[in-house]
Amino acid sequence: MSENSNITELKNVLEVALLTSHAPLSLDDMLRLFAEKMERATLRMLLDELKQDWAERTMELVQVASGYRFQARDEYAVFLARLNPERQAKYSRAVMETLAIIAYRQPVTRGDIEEIRGVAVNPNVIRQLQERDWIDVIGQREVPGRPSLYGTTKHFLDDLNIRSLSELPPMEDFTQQEISI
């Protein structure tokens, strides 16, 4: 075996060990991989080369407190996070009704929502909908306190798979009936 192919083979063993290990490998761990005695300097050189070999690839060889490990580059975290999403419970009734009021009655202030629902609106409810990027502030009403006016976003339409608010089921006819009872 030539010197070069030998180095490749040694790096391969290190690569396999690091890719399959559940925990970082210390230099001592890695020295145990090889039957023949290896200098720590040689091992460090091999690890440097291995790091270079992966420089343009998906994983990076990093050194942490307890040793070396391969880890996914940061840019992939967003993909990996999708593998095991924690599903959040359903929205509360307050959130859904607030959303409905904003969708059907925009632009509305918090005061409008409270008037329609007959109860105070928890700021947390508005925040949840804003964080979801379903509603945002589109202006202020020119009354004392200049309350924010809320409207729904394009993202809201996208998530509900409709192109315009006019595609929301018309509810006014139904309303008239209900109210007349």
Binding site: L80, Q88, R93, P169
Partner: protein, 262 residues
């Protein structure tokens, strides 16, 4: 006892005579006693050790050998004896049934050893299968799977909301609103509301727009232009817009009321 010719196989060769050293001193076996998995395992050991033909087991020899080991085991491991004693009884029963005269038309099925042979063969097949399974490389034992590290960021999957959920919520709102006499839910076109939001958004970005800039005459049809105009009027009525014109027929400007007063 019916003497049957012995068909023993030793390294593939047939032997028709009993090996001279059929008897193994129990002392030599002491080391194995721990490793027997039960009476079937011990019987298989004896059969293999003495190269007996499983399809034609010499019951007298096998039973005698077996009893010797069971005695030895009883001496050192009493709690094991139960299963083994049961087997002793079975072997003795088979042996005694074989002493009875064979019916002339006897087929293989009537061989008193048939059931024992079936069980021995079944057990040996399982024993071999277990050895094979044991030898297979397994994850954690000779098989190494990728397990590199990644930075876990937890992504909370937000609740799903459908159109039905939304309209259901709106229906509830309306039902409840009907209880408040003072509140009146007027009939207005949803698309007007949507345009009110669209216009407010544009004015938030552009501050001041010419009235005509709010209309896309080229692309929007008449109904949409009308809706847009109604939206401007509604915004004006609600005091959200300020519309200015310096003199007759000059450019009309539209801006958010708060921006104008500031």
């Amino acid at each position: 006892m019916i003497e049957t010719p012995l068909h023993a196989k030793i390294k593939g060769e047939e032997f028709t005579e009993l090996p001279k050293d059929l008897y193994i001193p129990p002392d030599a076996l002491e080391v194995y006693l721990e490793s027997f998995e039960g009476p079937l395992d011990l019987l298989l050991y004896l059969i293999r050790k003495h190269n007996l033909d499983i399809l034609d087991i010499p019951m007298a020899d096998l039973t005698r050998q077996y009893m010797q080991y069971v005695e030895k085991m009883r001496a050192i491991k009493l709690e094991l004896a139960g299963d083994y004693l049961l087997m002793s009884a079975m072997l003795i029963e088979i042996k005694s049934r074989m002493l009875l005269p064979k019916p002339v038309e006897a087929d293989d099925e009537s061989d008193p050893r048939a059931e024992l042979v079936r069980r021995l063969m079944e057990y040996e097949a399982i024993k071999l299968a277990a050895q094979r399974l044991d030898e297979m490389p397994k994850v954690g034992d000779g098989l190494f799977v990728a397990s590199a590290y990644y930075q876990h960021i937890s992504q909370v999957k937000p609740p799903e909301v459908s159109l039905d959920d939304l309209t259901e919520a709106w229906r509830n709102v309306l039902k409840r609103a009907s209880h408040f006499k003072h509140h009146k839910i007027g009939r207005s076109e949803l698309s007007v509301r949507e345009h009110m939001s669209i216009i407010l958004r544009r004015l938030k970005d552009d501050r001041l727009l010419e009235f005509t800039q709010l209309f896309d005459v080229k692309n929007d049809g008449i109904p949409k232009l009308v809706v847009c105009f109604l939206a401007i009027l509604e915004l004006c009525r609600e005091g959200l817009l300020r519309i200015t014109q310096q003199q007759a027929f000059s450019t009309i400007y539209v801006q958010i009321a708060s921006e104008a007063s500031a």
